[in-house]
Every structure is written in structure tokens, then in C-alpha cells.
């Protein structure tokens, strides 16, 4: 039990250290660096041209599709990992079950492939 808690204390410490460094570095940096803002400095950079329109443009829906694909396949690992850990201790049927599970996912992938979700044709 101690080990369990200690492990996560370490993880917490790492996270805290991770947060601490940027905070410290940026604070120190603020003391060191100059601060002379002008209007030109604050414009959006578009390779030297006058910026046109808003930066937060509507982007291609394709990104969403990839996000969807990611969600599905990443969640798969939630089942895949425990299965992988326990694989050696269980019988043949577990292989069949996972074959069915993954098989269905592969069909999903084929579907997306065939429906040209995976095809990238512009930005």
C-alpha cells in the first residue's frame, strides 16, 4: 500500500516540477527581458504582408474525421491492454474474442478507407 501511494506521490512531484519550471523560467525571464511594445510588433505575422481577415478560420472538416477515427481506435486500447496483460493466463477463447473485436475494428477501418476518409486532398 505504501508503495502504491509513494508511486503516485512521485508522479505528482514530477507534474508539479513540470509546472514549476515554466513558471519560474518565465518569471525570471520577465525580469531579464526588455519590454518595449509597439503596434507593429503586436500585429499578426503573415510573412510581412498586412494580415488579412481573422486567423481563426474555418478549417477542413477532414481534421474532425481524423479525430473521430482516433477516438475510436484509441479507445480500442482500453480493451486491448488489459487483454494483452492477461493473455497468457487465459484460454484459447480469449484469442477468438479479441479476434472478433479487432476484426470488427478492422472492418471499420476498411469502411473508412473505402469511404475515402483517409484520403487527404487539400490543406
Amino acid at each position: 500500500m505504501e508503495k502504491y501511494i509513494n508511486n503516485y506521490v512521485i508522479v505528482t512531484i514530477f507534474i508539479l516540477l513540470g509546472i514549476l519550471l515554466p513558471v519560474v523560467a518565465l518569471t525570471v525571464g520577465r525580469m531579464l527581458r526588455p519590454h518595449k511594445p509597439t503596434e507593429e510588433k503586436k500585429t499578426t505575422y503573415e510573412s510581412g504582408n498586412e494580415p488579412v481577415g481573422d486567423g481563426q478560420i474555418r478549417f477542413n472538416v477532414r481534421y474532425y474525421l481524423f479525430a473521430l477515427m482516433f477516438v475510436i481506435f484509441d479507445i480500442e486500447t482500453v480493451f486491448l491492454y488489459p487483454w494483452a496483460v492477461a493473455y497468457n493466463q487465459l484460454g484459447l477463447f480469449i484469442l477468438v474474442e479479441m479476434a472478433i473485436f479487432i476484426g470488427l475494428l478492422l472492418i471499420g477501418l476498411t469502411y473508412a478507407w473505402k469511404k475515402k476518409v483517409l484520403k487527404w486532398n487539400s490543406i
Partner: protein, 100 residues
């Protein structure tokens, strides 16, 4: 120990429910639903570890919940994209095609 988890879960759930019912932005609505589902997960895991009758099935349940909610979110987003293409907005108040 348990009660703090439960309280946190309940608060998350209420925030989620509030967001799902009140928020105007469709994406935020979907996010709120995910929040509710995560509150459930928190509950389940807390119970499976610290509950009156600790049992592993709660964590198994959580795995299923996570997977299913991911699928739900995927479908939700897909539907929202289709809707956005058709209507050009993600404002929930404007989804009133059928009330007219």
C-alpha cells in the same frame, strides 16, 4: 475518502447536466455530456476501491463506459458536422427547423 470522491463526482455531474441543458454551443453541450459520463466513471472507480463492498466489477464497468461514451461522442460529433454543413451554425437555439 469515499465521500470526497462522491461529492466531486456529484458536482461534476451537476455541472455537466447544467451545461447540457443550458449551454447554447452544441459542442459545449456534447462536452457537458462527456463530463456527466466522467462523473459516472469517477463514482464507479471510487466505489470499486473504497466502497462498502469493494469489487472489481466497477472498474470493468468503467472500461465499458469509457469505450461506449467515446463511440457516443464520435457519433455526436459526426452528427454535429452534418448538421453544421446543413445549417451553418452550432448554436443550439437555432436548431428549430421542426418547430416552425
Amino acid at each position: 475518502m469515499l465521500s470526497s470522491y462522491l461529492t466531486l463526482a456529484a458536482i461534476l455531474f451537476c455541472i455537466g447536466l447544467y451545461g447540457a441543458l443550458v449551454k447554447r454551443n452544441a459542442v459545449v453541450v456534447l462536452l457537458s455530456i462527456e463530463l456527466m459520463l466522467n462523473a459516472v466513471n469517477l463514482n464507479l472507480v471510487a466505489f470499486s476501491k473504497y466502497g462498502a463492498v469493494p469489487a472489481l466489477s466497477g472498474q470493468v464497468f468503467t472500461l465499458f463506459t469509457i469505450a461506449v461514451s467515446a463511440a457516443e461522442a464520435a457519433v455526436g460529433i459526426a452528427v454535429l458536422i452534418a448538421l453544421f454543413r446543413a445549417r451553418g451554425t452550432v448554436n443550439v437555439d437555432e436548431f428549430d427547423e421542426m418547430r416552425r
